[in-house]
Symmetry: C2
Subunit: 105 residues, 2 copies
C-alpha cells in the first residue's frame, strides 16, 4: 500500500484547480459528506455511486487541489476536510458551494 | 441576427450548471470584467484570448446557467451580470469566486 503523496501548501492553492476539483458532483459529494459528519472518514466509509478505483481517483483530485487531507490510521486511509486552509486561501468559497449543494434551486 | 434565447428563472438555477459555467477561465474572465467595470459590456467589448465564435459560445454557457443576462441595444448585444439573482440562488458563491480570482494564491 502506498503512502500518502504530498499535499499542497495553502500558498500553492490554485483557484482553477480547486474549481476543477469541485465541479465534479461525486467529489462535491465527498466534501458534503465530510462537512455533514463533521469528522474524518475513511475512504471506504463514503456513500458514493462509483467503484473503489474511481473513488480513489476522486480523492486524489481533491487532495491535490488542497480540499482534503489524507492520512493513515494503521491500514485505513482517512480523509479530512481542509476547511481552515480552504477558508484562508479562498474565503467563503467552500461554505458557498456547500450551501449551494443543499439548496433545492 | 438572432434574438436572445430564454434566460433561466432563479428557481431553475442549478449548482452543477453554474459551477460548470464558472470552472472555465475564459468565462470567469468575462464575469470578472463585468464585476470590475460595474456596468454592462457589449460582446465585442471584452478583453478575451479567444475568437468571436468561441466567445459567443462562452457567453451562451454563462447565460444558460443564469450568470449573465443578454439584451440588445440596437444591434449591440449587451451582457449584464445577474448578481442579485446569483446571490439569491447561491448566497456568497459569486463573491467568493470573484474574490478567489483576485488572490495570488
Amino acid at each position: 500500500m502506498g503512502r500518502i503523496p504530498q499535499h499542497p501548501e495553502v500558498s500553492d492553492f490554485d483557484v482553477q484547480r480547486v474549481l476543477e476539483a469541485l465541479v465534479d458532483p461525486v467529489r462535491r459529494s465527498i466534501v458534503t459528506q465530510l462537512d455533514a459528519l463533521g469528522a474524518d472518514i475513511k475512504c471506504g466509509g463514503f456513500d458514493l455511486p462509483v467503484g473503489k478505483a474511481t473513488a480513489t481517483h476522486h480523492f486524489g483530485v481533491l487532495r491535490d487541489a488542497g480540499v482534503i487531507r489524507q492520512y493513515y490510521v494503521g491500514t485505513l486511509r482517512m480523509n479530512s476536510l481542509r476547511r481552515a486552509d480552504m477558508d484562508q486561501a479562498f474565503p467563503g468559497l467552500l461554505d458557498a458551494i456547500l450551501a449551494a449543494q443543499k439548496q433545492p434551486a
